[in-house]
């Protein structure tokens, strides 16, 4: 595999919530499983970090199919957080990921606040986990998830509890399906989050006009991909203006220029999701492209461009 990043004089490293990343490019939760399947297509050791598929205390079956449908420049998914559960993750999935010597950030969720804190506590006792990403924003399960992510007070309460349960770096992943992302962001910051990831998917629906039924068995699903990029970017902008903890930009990043839009706007790192389905090696091209951009701009560190947005 000729997938090695070039040796370079340009410093792409960033620190988020105390986690040191050699570059700002991470894989987004749920879009690359736990790495076994994508590892022949993408050299994981080159990445800044990876965020695992969201796990819960117990294994979860997820939603019935159909679970995905393509939309203009995007896709809806209603996986419903199918996952192997805490025990199997720790036993079988984590050891595989540790071999790449990059920070492994574990995305997790619960149906109740109790489940969130319990899982936060258990994950903290596991070796080889660099940080946690709490998903309070998944639109595809009835309880939990988005319930906590749309009301500042509920989000504050939940994150305060999780904060007490773990001393690992705590990243909170926000839902974009809200009126005022800055308010939620501030309350989560106050509750003790070390960083924010945004955004998760936007709730959408597609109807099959032949059958007169929603295409997805779950009726609605989460929109991801290039279609949402301008929307997520706007939310990142509102959020970096509202909080002082680092923000990780997510949504429709396909190439380096897209990632740069987020970084310039003030995101300290980015996550790549849907792009992995089309170009599994997209993250490496993005890393290279960011580096080429910095060289072209005469910068020697990534820091110089983070948040450099000039607004009239």
């Amino acid at each position: 595999m000729d997938q090695r990043a070039p040796q370079s004089d340009i410093d792409l490293s960033v620190t988020i919530a105390g986690i040191v990343l050699k570059n700002p490019v991470m894989l987004a939760s749920g879009t690359w499983g736990y790495g076994e399947e994508i590892s022949s297509l993408l050299d994981l050791s080159q990445l800044g970090a990876v965020i695992t598929k969201g796990i819960s205390l117990q294994p979860s079956c997820g939603n019935p199919p159909p679970r995905i449908v393509e939309t203009p420049s995007g896709m809806l998914n209603a996986i419903g957080l199918q996952n192997v559960g805490f025990a199997e993750f720790v036993e079988k999935k984590l050891p595989f990921l540790r071999q790449f010597h990059i920070p492994v950030i574990v995305n997790f969720f619960g149906k109740t606040a109790g489940e969130y804190t319990e899982l936060g506590k258990r994950l903290s006792a596991v070796e080889g986990i660099a940080g946690l990403e709490v998903n309070i924003s998944c639109p595809n399960i009835k309880e939990g998830g988005i319930f906590f992510g749309t009301e500042p007070a509920r989000a504050h309460e939940l994150i305060s509890a999780v904060r007490k349960a773990t001393s690992l770096p705590l990243i909170v992943k926000l839902s974009p399906n809200v009126t005022d992302i800055a308010r939620i962001a501030r309350s989560v910051e106050e509750a003790g989050a070390d960083a924010l990831s945004l955004t998760n998917t936007f709730t959408g629906m597609v109807v099959d006009v032949e059958t007169c039924a929603p295409v997805l068995a779950h009726s609605t699903g989460g929109l991801s991909g290039p279609a949402i990029r301008p929307l997520s970017l706007r939310m990142v902008w509102e959020t970096v203006n509202a909080v002082s903890i680092p923000v990780i930009g997510i949504g429709g990043i396909m190439e380096a220029a897209d990632a740069l839009q987020y970084l310039i706007t003030g995101a300290r790192a980015v996550q790549i999701g849907t792009a992995l389905f089309i170009r599994p090696d997209a993250p490496l091209r993005i890393i290279e492209g960011i580096e080429a951009y910095l060289r072209h701009k005469g910068c020697s560190t990534l820091q110089e461009i983070i948040g450099c947005l000039k607004v009239k």
Binding site: G30, T31, W32, G33, E36, E37, I38, S39, S40, L41, K53, P59, S60, C61, G62, P64, P65, P66, R67, I68, V69, E70, P72, S73, G74, M75, N77, I79, Q82, G225, P226, A227, M254, T274, L276, F277, I278, P280, D281
Partner: protein, 281 residues
């Protein structure tokens, strides 16, 4: 061998019937690994719309080439129809679990509906090359004579081909599963036991075929279709409901019984028909 991104040159992209195309791709690395029943995820556009890759079964596997047979179904396949020889395209593959030919098989029954013929042509090719199984019958159904005409382009096949059309314009008038059932009823049970049955087609057909196989206690391998995003097993988008295996099932409060969602792209696309749980059962 794990899947890779392959860049392949188009050798030909022939229109072999209304809306049907055969495309031959030069890609020695992929050809070496590929097995009948496997598929590729082809990038159909450089734009973000259509966004996702499209899955296509291998209908032929050569030394340095793989071949696909496709039908225009929407925008992605329409774009593909305009591709020209010498153009470079890229795919991820080979993907999925292929067919397994039981060692004891004395005969093979192949039941195909519409474009579902594609993976079964690769299977037939492989059986014929290995010459271990003396007797292969293909039951091929479509809506009209045009649908089943595509198989002419793949002759000479040593297999016997029976056709069925819904409008009766060629062969048996009716569903291919009924044609197959007729045939089955004239076979001796002992012969059926030594027969490998393979099917691929629309979901309605796969379901009936699975039921027939179940009723006659025949092992039947079904290649399934499903909406796919990644094709490699990482998005969990393409699952089908299957029987629980090895006690690792999961139970949903709303649904009775234990089952498992398994990925068509990774555990499939070929499943033993007994594994599958059809909704409503």
């Amino acid at each position: 061998m794990p899947p890779r991104i392959h860049y392949a040159k188009i050798k030909y992209n022939r229109n072999i019937g209304p809306g049907f195309f055969r495309m031959l791709l030069a890609c020695p690395d992929a050809a070496r690994e590929a097995r009948p029943g496997q598929f590729i995820m082809l990038q159909v556009s450089d734009s973000t719309d259509p966004l996702l890759r499209r899955p296509f079964s291998l209908c032929g596997i050569g030394n340095d080439t793989i071949e696909i047979l496709f039908r225009i179904a929407g925008r992605g396949t329409s774009l593909m129809a305009s591709w020209r020889p010498e153009q470079i395209v890229n795919f991820i593959g080979p993907l999925g679990r292929g067919f397994e030919i039981p060692e004891t098989a004395q005969a093979v029954y192949i039941i195909a509906g519409g474009i579902g013929i594609a993976p079964l042509l690769a299977l037939t090719q492989s059986i014929e090359q290995n010459k271990t199984i003396p007797d292969t019958c293909i039951f091929f159904g479509g809506k009209t004579a045009e649908d089943v005409a595509v198989i002419e382009d793949f002759k000479p096949l040593s297999a016997t081909v029976f056709t069925a059309t819904e409008n009766g314009s060629q062969g048996f008038h009716g569903l291919v599963t009924d044609l197959f059932l007729n045939h089955l009823q004239h076979q001796r049970a002992a012969d059926i036991d030594r027969t490998g049955v393979f099917g691929c087609g629309p979901q309605s057909m796969a379901r009936v075929l699975g039921a027939i196989a179940g009723k006659h206690s025949i092992t039947c391998q079904l290649s399934l279709e499903s909406m796919m995003a990644c094709g490699v097993g990482s998005c969990l988008g393409c699952v089908v409901k299957t029987q629980t295996i090895q006690g690792s099932g999961c139970q949903q409060p709303s649904e009775p019984g234990s089952f498992q969602y398994r990925r068509v792209c990774a555990e499939g696309p070929v499943f033993d028909s007994r594994e599958l749980v059809w909704e409503g059962e």
